[in-house]
């Protein structure tokens, strides 16, 4: 799965709008440390990400596309490996549940952004990987190295993106669930660092949080949002938080916009919308039933399962809430990608639990039908991720065409952009004319 997604990533040209300025900046920067420090005092404050961009640029030896894509693929492979490691696979039932969960992870709308966007390296993917790593660390047997790894994981995550604080959320939630892999001392250290980071981020660094976002069936620009809802906490903020949660649990709205409502207004709801909603709703119902059963009577299996299920459900709830709150200013599916990964982990437990409990013919038949429907729809969504990349490749390819009129003035940047353009144009992409018409209706698209 990682191989095919990685191949897709290689086929997608580098992005022009968000990515090219960063690459040009990396080319101009005198060094990795200079790139790192250049982010201090900025609205974004992603120093590690800028340093990575510069380091990869320097290591590329002119093969910029390959260098950035290789790193993106490495992050993807790491995230998928960590995800699979987070599942407990010991039997045939576990294997079936893990295959289901893997499809939920990759097919989810929150995952698409991890392979669709690259500026020039996806900035959310490291966070997903680091949060999964933090979950695994808290499950460990403890020790100085585990503690050190936990602290470094948090630091790396926060210096990459604001969503890095989710590492702290995962560690604390794990501890509340009784996991003692990360010691109290390390947890206190991470908490102090988190407070320092949050205070520094909110007080010392400028914030520019308002982006375009969806609202019911509309897409609103920042000015429209301010004009209609005012600044600060508003109806829009509350809507965005709930919309973010709903996008993980039900695949709607997408980036804040209820695309199914928009489809209904236009008199055309393509099958892909039903596929997304039905697969997610069935899975969420399975998860909800498992959570309800667990809260009433415990797991169907052993005490070890009980602790693991409890921990993963608690972490999922905490990450879902924290991710949703952190996207209060604007809804974007990829911001919820960490919660999406944990959603897939609890889906694993839910499917496993339902399979283990299938002891009578009637309920077993119902379980069979529900699982067949859900897993089939998730499988379609996994193929759909490749379709999104194929579509994205065409769009990014086209963006390079007009770049000849916007080449930078300074000779080095001019040469760099010219060579990137030539490289991008030489990469074959699939014109949508060659793609069957039904594909855009069945597979997901870029909203």
């Amino acid at each position: 799965m990682a191989g095919s997604l990685g191949y897709g990533l290689l086929r997608v040209p580098l992005q022009v709008q968000d990515s090219l300025p960063k690459i040009v900046e990396a080319g101009r920067s005198p060094g990795v440390w200079a790139s790192f420090t250049s982010e201090i005092g900025t609205t974004d404050f992603r120093p590690l990400w800028m340093a990575e961009t510069k380091l990869l640029f320097d290591l590329s030896g002119g093969h910029v596309h390959v260098a950035y894509k290789a790193f993106h693929i490495a992050l993807l492979v790491a995230a998928l490996c960590l995800f699979v490691t987070a599942l407990r696979i010991e039997s045939g039932v576990d294997l079936a549940a893990s295959l289901f969960a893997l499809n939920v992870f990759v097919g989810s709308n929150t995952f698409v952004g991890l392979v669709k966007e690259a500026t020039p390296v996806n900035v959310y993917l490291p966070i997903v990987g680091l949060v999964l790593l933090a979950m695994l660390l808290s499950r460990g047997r403890g020790g100085v190295w585990i503690d050190l790894a936990a602290v470094l994981t948090f630091v790396a995550a926060c210096l990459t993106l604001e969503s890095g604080v989710l590492v702290w959320v995962a560690l604390v939630a794990g501890r509340l669930a009784g996991r003692r892999g990360v010691s109290d001392r390390a947890l206190i250290s991470v908490t102090i660092l988190m407070v320092v980071y949050v205070v520094g981020r909110l007080t010392l660094l400028p914030l520019d949080t308002q982006n375009a976002s969806g609202y019911l069936a509309e897409r609103l620009e920042p000015e429209q949002i301010r004009e209609r809802f005012g600044a600060g906490l508003s109806r829009f903020t509350i809507y965005t938080v709930y919309a973010s949660i709903s996008s993980v649990l039900f695949s709607e709205p997408r980036d804040g916009t209820f695309v199914i409502l928009r489809g209904w207004q236009h008199g055309d709801i393509p099958p892909r919308m039903w596929i997304n909603i039905v697969s997610s709703t069935l899975t969420t119902v399975l998860i909800a039933i498992t959570a309800w059963r667990w809260s009433r009577e415990g797991s169907a299996n052993t005490d070890g399962d009980r602790a693991a299920i409890r921990g993963d459900f608690l972490i999922f709830g905490a990450l879902l809430a924290a991710s949703a709150v952190s996207s209060f200013a604007y809804a974007k599916d990829v911001i919820m990608s960490t919660a999406g990964a944990c959603y897939a982990i609890v889906a694993f437990w839910a499917v496993r639990d339902h399979l283990i409990r299938a002891r009578r013919v009637g309920p077993a038949l119902v379980t069979t039908i529900v699982l067949l429907a859900a897993s089939s729809l998730w499988a379609v969504r996994v193929v759909g991720v490749h379709h999104v990349m194929r579509t994205q490749a065409f769009a990014f390819h086209n963006d390079w065409a007009g770049m000849r009129d916007y080449l930078p003035d300074d000779p080095a940047a001019h040469r760099l952009v010219s060579s990137l353009r030539a490289d991008a144009l030489s990469r074959p992409v699939v014109n949508p004319w060659f793609v069957p018409r039904w594909a855009d209706r069945v597979f997901d698209i870029d909203y």
């Binding site: 191989g3 039908i369 065409a401």
Partner: protein
């Protein structure tokens, strides 16, 4: 009572396994040097690229030496005509951005050529396309008149 896990487990696992197999096929083809079917398109003529809003392919073909001022064959279903110049194809496909790109990349129109394109655009009735063509009106043309 015996657990009835086999059938639901198979139903939970087989479709995801099929998705994994799809991924494996894509990756396997790539590893062995083939373009996976899913990622296969096909070569386009310059006129086809213009009609199919393939700006990058238009730029690439012209920079590779394709002449933007001659007629090219078009596959059936691309447009209602079987041959067209890239500019005609862009106008017929209602693509003002491709008209602009072709002009920047070296397409040229003389007086009769511009008149012909203007009339196609007027016939289609798309304002953006008419504007795009009119922006390149030769200075010798005062007024365009199209008769059906």
């Amino acid at each position: 009572m015996a657990r009835l896990t086999t059938l639901p487990a198979v139903c939970a696992g087989i479709p995801p396994l099929a998705a994994v197999a799809f991924c494996g096929a894509v990756f396997g083809a790539a590893v062995f040097g083939y373009t996976p079917t899913f990622w296969q398109g096909g070569p386009l003529t310059l006129a086809e690229a213009a009609a199919l809003r393939d700006q990058a392919e238009v730029a690439r073909l012209i920079e590779a030496g394709a002449d933007p001022n001659i007629e090219y064959a078009l596959r059936p279903d691309v447009l209602a005509v079987s041959r067209a110049t890239p500019l005609e194809a862009a106008v017929l496909a209602r693509r003002p951005e491709i008209v602009q790109l072709l002009m920047r990349e070296g397409a040229a129109v003389d007086e009769p050529g511009w008149h012909h394109l203007h009339c196609i655009a007027a016939d289609i009735g798309e304002d953006d396309v008419i504007e795009a063509i009119d922006a390149y009106r030769p200075s010798t043309v005062a007024v365009a008149s199209c008769t059906r």
